[in-house]
């Protein structure tokens, strides 16, 4: 799949998947399937190049690697741990388990003085710094567990999960997608003194940071500027039987409202 952040880069994914999974996402040679690799910050359509039978899996200890992901990345971090000479090289989104916060934290959010979980206990972070340049990076998904121990300090590390990210993708307007049709309909109904700044089926949706929310950023379906210069957002989504937004839609609204954005919800179903 094309790397949205490195225009000349192609992300290579190699997956070991069940026939049921392949049928669910309509995966076959030359098919195009959607991936959300949230942990790596990669989203987009991936072309299926080859489908082959699974090679024999050796018996014995250890876990089977279910997926490998490799691409170029310019956002790399060096993590130095107390008592460990070799720094840990990570992408900024790679998650490690913070014993201090008892949560999976992306490398870019880790702070000096924080304790990380390791195979033998914990290790304290001495420093976190950005690494200049672009390098090829790798990630894996391991069988059964969603984590593995990384580096000489054996830090508990979250794996990537391309399995969870694959789907057929949202239907476009041309495919009769009601979500996009509703968005374009709303864009056509904007008031005379309202200006579309982003989204609306005409322009790309901008990323609005929503720190402390369910997600760290959201993209309203429409971002509109009122005549007085204030902004309002509109999200279009599915609703429950009583007309209220589905949970995922409500989460998005809550995140954006908590970040101080005046949000409206319009149902399309």
């Amino acid at each position: 799949m094309p790397n949205p952040e490195q225009s000349a880069d192609i992300i290579d994914l190699e997956l070991l998947r069940s026939v049921e999974w392949m049928q669910a996402v309509e995966c076959g040679e030359d098919a195009v399937i959607w991936f959300d690799l949230e942990e790596m910050g990669l989203h987009g359509w991936a072309e299926v190049v080859r489908v082959e039978p699974c090679p024999p899996i050796k018996a014995g200890p250890g876990r089977v690697v279910l997926a490998t992901v490799t691409h170029y990345n310019s956002f790399l971090m060096d993590l130095r741990l107390a008592g460990v000479s070799e720094p840990l090289h990570l992408t900024d989104r790679h998650r490690l388990f913070s014993a201090t916060r008892q949560d999976w934290i992306p490398a870019s959010d880790l702070r000096a003085g924080e304790d990380l979980a390791t195979r033998s206990g914990t290790a304290r972070i001495q420093s976190v710094s950005a690494t200049p340049g672009t390098q090829r990076v790798f990630n894996i998904e391991a069988e059964s567990e969603h984590c593995f121990f990384a580096g000489s300090a054996e830090v508990l590390s979250h794996n990537t999960n391309p399995c969870g990210g694959a789907k057929r993708g949202p239907k476009t307007k041309l495919q009769g997608g009601p979500h996009n049709e509703k968005i374009e309909e709303l864009e056509g109904q904007l008031g005379k003194d309202e200006t579309l700044l982003a989204g609306g089926g005409r322009l790309p949706e901008v990323l609005i940071p929503t720190r402390g929310g369910m997600k760290s950023g959201r993209r309203p379906d429409l971002l509109i500027r009122r005549a007085d210069g204030s902004l309002r957002g509109v999200n279009v989504g599915r609703s429950k039987a009583d007309g209220s937004p589905l949970k995922r839609e409500q989460d998005a609204l809550d995140d954006l409202r908590r970040a101080g954005i005046d949000m409206d919800f319009i149902r399309y179903d």
């Binding site: 900024d92 929503t210 950023g217």
Partner: protein
């Protein structure tokens, strides 16, 4: 649908410099005021001086001359698909707002051409800012947001950097944990 989006911080002078460079590439630039709606073709570099851009809030860039007989922005967007849109963030009372450059098209070729223009902007900016919640100070790194040297200088001088919308705090350098 193919899309291009670069969200960034730049001073008014840097935005004007960037636009003047686009004009030198034989692109057609249209500046727009919103209330009331007013379109002006920028035919010379003088039209893109900071003093003249002060009233305009957005600029559209085209490879071909656009249709300009439109009553409002939404009509203009309908009449002129495949343009490159620049929303110009303001520097107002020591607050610098975010700018963004965006395009959307059903044609991959259109976006490829605009990507070359976006690369001019990328060369003038660095990637990655820190953003913290105003409510609980939870902070994180956003590599999608870029900034110019001028924006960094303003930040170092105490200028507040505003998020694209909402009330999160933006830092162009890694903030200390207690800020």
């Amino acid at each position: 649908m193919h899309k291009l989006l670069v969200q960034f911080y730049a001073t008014p002078h840097e935005l004007a410099d960037f636009l003047r460079e686009l004009l030198s590439l034989d692109l057609t630039l249209v500046t727009m005021e919103l209330s009331p709606f007013l379109i002006q073709l920028a035919s010379s570099k003088a039209d893109l001086e900071v003093s003249r851009l002060q009233k305009a809030s957005q600029v559209m860039v085209f490879h071909e001359p656009p249709v300009t007989s439109c009553e409002n922005w939404n009509q203009f967007l309908d009449a002129n698909r495949d343009g490159l849109f620049l929303w110009m963030g303001r520097l107002d009372q020591q607050v610098l707002s975010q700018s963004w450059l965006s395009a959307q098209s059903t044609s991959e070729q259109v976006i490829k051409r605009w990507r070359k223009v976006a690369n001019i902007l990328k060369r003038r900016t660095s990637a990655g800012v820190w953003i913290a919640s105003l409510l609980n100070k939870d902070a994180g790194f956003y590599k999608q947001f870029r900034f110019t040297e001028g924006a960094l200088k303003l930040f170092d001088e105490g200028c507040r950097i505003a998020p694209p919308a909402g009330n999160n705090l933006v830092f162009l350098r890694n903030p200390s944990p207690d800020c």
